[in-house]
């Protein structure tokens, strides 16, 4: 093999130390690492109760190398708004303020604060790393849990029959200047989105799919593969919305069948072929909906 010259597609500087407490193969670990590279050192984070509350490490240690405020479960967006207001008054307009919350703290208990901050167009980032359940407390279902998934509160005989809450549409309805979806399998795409959003003033929401091996009952080595398949099957399309205009950032002209994604996860093992068909139809419907918006955006 000819040795190619090394080219890095992400900034080389690490703003997160190893030694943190994420599980082996944690999607949220990849998400944070890439996000911190994009944000740089001039940033402040706030976490609600979520996996990263624990991952970052106990007192007196921390893994992230930016200032961090741990805050109560419901409050991410409100705390971020408060931090930003303080920095403004203190004359610091450059430091980026970012809320970093899990799906539970965004779709469910944190929804009110998120809506408030989005409506006020507070000049903050809001990152939701979505592992599709309350993983930190032991895999209970959340509003982000997809149709068909096993969780401890949607056991196999009562698997989740409700669809995943469409947080992106909810945020979109607030007419925020920028929101996007991302996946840990496409870190360059996530990086590009964050760098673009950094130049925008107002509320910026980025929804990152972060697979969770213990919660999804998948192999740790498959985390990136699953995050890629989610995009390639159209289950989690990657796009950005700037001032209401939709643009798909990772094209998926020939979508893979959803079974490719579902079969690698134990949380879907109980599904019958009819269930899989239902899921395929749901995904097709939603993808068609988004395609219309992508096409409108191209005009």
């Amino acid at each position: 093999m000819t040795k190619k010259k090394m080219t890095l597609t992400l900034p080389v500087e690490e703003n997160m130390s190893p030694g943190h407490l994420a599980c082996q193969g944690c999607g949220a670990g990849i998400a944070m690492r890439v996000t911190l590279k994009a944000l740089g050192k001039n940033a402040v984070l706030t976490f609600p109760a979520c996996c990263w509350t624990i991952i970052d490490g106990p007192f007196p240690y921390s893994s992230v190398e930016v200032p961090l405020l741990h805050t109560a479960f419901e409050t991410t967006a409100a705390a971020a708004a408060g931090i930003k207001a303080a920095m403004n008054v203190l004359g610091n307009k450059d430091t980026i303020v970012a809320g970093w919350a899990g799906d539970g703290g965004t779709f469910d208990i944190g929804l009110q604060a998120l809506s408030g901050a989005a409506e006020r167009n507070d000049d903050v980032f809001y990152f939701c790393y979505d592992n599709e359940a309350y993983m930190n407390t032991g895999i209970q279902r959340s509003g982000a849990t997809p149709y068909g998934a096993w969780t401890t509160t949607t056991p196999v005989n009562h698997f989740k029959k409700e669809s995943k809450k469409s947080i992106d549409d909810i945020v979109s309805a607030h007419k925020v200047p920028y929101h996007a979806t991302a996946s840990v399998a496409y870190p360059e795409d996530l990086l590009k989105k964050i760098l673009k959003a950094k130049e925008i003033r107002g509320f910026k929401f980025i929804h990152i799919l972060a697979p969770c091996p213990p919660g999804w009952k998948s192999k740790p080595e498959h985390t990136v593969k699953l995050a890629r398949l989610a995009v390639q099957t159209g289950i989690f399309p990657l796009y950005e919305v700037e001032a209401g205009v939709y643009k798909q950032t990772i094209k998926t002209p020939k979508r893979k069948p959803v079974i490719e994604y579902l079969k690698l996860q134990g949380r879907f093992r109980h599904l019958t072929s009819d269930d899989v068909k239902t899921i395929q139809e749901m995904v097709d419907e939603r993808y068609a909906e988004l395609e219309e918006r992508f096409n409108k955006g191209k005009q």
């Binding site: 093999m1 000819t2 040795k3 190619k4 010259k5 090394m6 080219t7 890095l8 597609t9 992400l10 080389v12 690490e14 997160m16 130390s17 190893p18 030694g19 943190h20 407490l21 994420a22 082996q24 193969g25 944690c26 999607g27 949220a28 670990g29 990849i30 690492r33 970052d56 490490g57 007192f59 007196p60 240690y61 921390s62 893994s63 190398e65 961090l68 840990v184 870190p187 192999k219 740790p220 080595e221 498959h222 985390t223 990136v224 593969k225």
Partner: protein, 97 residues
């Protein structure tokens, strides 16, 4: 504070800050003990694409002389690097006897 691997021991209440705040890096926590398989890079096959470095959730792949080097102090053995390597240059090898 970055990458400082020192642990911190408080001798008494006077040494505590007034509120819980971090004073040192989690790099003091050597997570290498977690794994039961470890990645071994075959440098003959490696093309320096750095995909292993890119995807490591633990930032446990160092870049030394423009080559990826697994940091065994922290590597948890998740095997994402081995799975994603485009030239199959990484083998996962059992730890211990």
């Amino acid at each position: 504070m970055a990458k400082d691997r020192k642990k911190i021991e408080f001798k008494g209440i006077e040494e505590l800050p007034p509120m819980a705040m971090s004073l040192k890096s989690m790099a003091a926590n050597e997570t290498g003990s977690w794994r039961n398989i470890r990645p071994v890079i075959n440098y003959d096959k490696c093309i320096n694409c750095m995909i292993c470095w890119k995807f490591c959730p633990d930032a446990a792949v160092d870049i030394i002389n423009e080559e990826p080097v697994i940091n065994l102090t922290f590597c948890k053995g998740c095997a994402i690097c081995a799975e994603e390597c485009p030239t199959d240059a990484i083998d996962m090898v059992k730890e211990g006897r």
